[in-house]
Amino acid sequence: MSDKSSENLRAQRLLLDALRHPDELPALSAADWDLLLRVARRTRLLGRLEVSLAIRDALAKIPERAADHLRASRNVIKHRQTLVAWEVNRLLWALADIDTPLILLKGTAYLLAGLSPASGRIFADVDLLVAEERLDEIEARLLARGWFRTQIDPYDDRYYRVWMHEIPPLRHRERGTEIDIHHRLLPKTSRLASSPESLFAAALPLSNRRLHILAPVDMVLHALVHLFLEGDPEEGLRLRDLLDVHELLRNFNDRPDFWSELIPRARELGFQRPLYYGLLHAQELFATPIPASLTAELAQLAPRWPIKVLMARLIRLALLPEHPDHPRRSAAIARWLLYARAHWLRMPPALLSKHLLRKLWLRCQGGRKRIDLAQLDLKQQ
């Protein structure tokens, strides 16, 4: 085996072991900590390590320098959580007389509902789901109350509004926190698109009754759809999103009907494949407890043989972090293929080729991607 692949295996092993067996972290050598911190930062999981050590009172048992990095991450995460919770408070103020349920999505939901994936998780922005017919009213109100549209070119704006499942992000003038307002879980053009009405009907209110979260099965399915269909060719599939799914499944494990509703609901919404891949890899990487009674039914969701094997390999390559000093071409190709697949599922072929041609044209023109310094700084945690 080449040095490169053994170094990559070591990096992956360190991270997965750290997530699965945090009790063993104090036994790591300084050199192991060096690599673990680098891969945990790259996958943005430093905060999870901090939480699992803190609840075991074990931060003093690891090298001081490593503990400093984890504390730094904890401080940033706590700060982001405060910002997100405050932004939701301000949204409620701004939308006080617009009588429509606001469904919190992803991290925002985990945080406000006090679900376990929130602990140690980094938050970028606030994600909301609202009824499509109320979008214009909500957007206009927010624009009047201090939020503004972040600068994007007219093509991108149209891209969002005509084809996507969310409108371009809004940002508050003073606070800088971004809000993503969705009206469905996947682009209107997506092959997996399903009508969002049943999500609204099943949503559950929080103690503030204007705020809702998705029903447990829908929350898990959304996390999976987000993981597999909203990737980034450079970042690959986000391991932290799969960890969210693992945590959610543990959260809901004891709920009566949760497991029996999961597969039928996935079929209803057209999300069988994301569910199949997600459960398969969560179990493999994090030993997620999945009832044995589900195995047979789950197997029916799998694609045919060659695809099944190929996808399992690609997903694993794109999920697991690389050694920062030894990037592999195979992982880059896997990330790109899965990104292309996600786009294929997001748009019909004619639209997709038009969209890609335009992106290619922009690239040839030498247009650099806009670097958002605030987002870049956040990624350091």
Partner: protein, 305 residues
């Protein structure tokens, strides 16, 4: 071991192979570079800094190298990378050294959130420190450089690193980037100061780096307590003025000049509150370095009486 224990060839070889392990105050770094121009500039400036073995737990793994792939043959550029990622647009290859130094600042400012990061220069004598919180352009680097060549020890020209547990300041005595006119001002003020080459037309104009006195680098692991908060401003031809200001004014000026006041939240409030309470706080307007230094020396002497 310090960097000067390596020959220039060994230094350049480490940069291209296993990486150069080096310590700046509390931070341990590994630097890779395949640019001979970078190695030539960095060797004399980094000479007195402690050398580290790279099989350790390090804080930042950074790189300043020619662009990856085919681009290296098209343009002579230097790219800054952190953990294999390239966060910024490339620099011209001649500016590799200032680009790396600036990149290290960025690493500290975006990652070291276990500390309160004040935007301030700091110097120390007999265990008591003066902090100079200021915005860019107020002349804190110049004043700080003059002071450390006049009997004060350098803590930092950029970061007031405050330990959250007790409020002490951690030194991070790195080379100091002087800009434009300041370079000649310091050359005239202390002809013996060790100053690297001038880099023309950088994003901040002409930049040249001063190596701190050896004593500051040797004592990089001795924290200090802040005793004075001085807000400096250089104004051409202005008469010297050192005016006391209220604690509440000082609080606001320190807090608004911090990199991560909001991230540390209540801890920041507590630390800065304690700091302004124990410090004497002044604004300093000056045009001549000698006058400014003697006024600051005077503060120190009064304290001794």
């Amino acid at each position: 071991m310090i960097v000067a224990d390596l020959t220039p060839d060994e230094f350049a070889e480490r940069l291209t192979t296993i990486g150069l392990g080096i310590r700046f105050g509390p931070f341990k770094l590994r630097i890779h570079s395949n640019l001979p121009t970078f190695a030539r500039v960095a060797y004399p400036l980094y000479a007195p800094y402690p050398l580290l073995s790279v099989d350790h737990l390090l804080d930042f793994h950074i790189q300043i190298s020619s662009p990856p792939g085919l681009r290296r043959w098209l343009r002579r550029q230097a790219c800054f990378a952190l953990d294999g990622h390239f966060p910024f647009a490339p620099y011209t290859v001649e500016h590799a050294f200032p680009a790396l130094e600036w990149g290290i600042n960025w690493c500290i400012a975006t990652r070291a959130h276990h500390l309160l990061l004040l935007h301030a220069a700091g110097v120390e004598r007999d265990g008591r420190a003066i902090l100079f919180p200021a915005s860019p352009g107020d002349g804190k680097s110049t004043l700080c450089t003059a002071l450390i060549h006049s009997g004060w020890r350098l803590l930092s020209d950029e970061f007031g690193l405050v330990l959250p547990e007790d409020g002490r300041l951690l030194p991070v005595p790195r080379v100091i980037p002087l800009k434009n006119e300041s370079i000649d001002v310091i050359r005239r003020f202390r002809p013996e100061a060790v100053i690297g080459p001038s880099f023309l037309n950088t994003r901040k104009g002409t930049v040249a780096h001063v190596q701190p006195p050896i004593d500051s680098i040797r004592r990089a692991r001795e924290p200090a307590w802040a005793r004075w908060l001085v807000f400096p401003r250089w104004v051409a031809d202005a008469p010297l003025s050192l005016q006391p200001i209220t604690k509440s004014q000082a609080f606001l000026m320190v807090a608004s000049n911090a990199f991560n006041y909001d991230v540390l939240d209540e801890t920041s409030f507590r630390l800065i509150n304690a700091m302004v309470r124990t410090c004497d706080c002044f604004t300093l307007v000056y045009s001549r370095l000698e006058e400014a230094i003697s006024a600051l020396d005077q503060l120190d002497r009064v304290d001794h009486v």
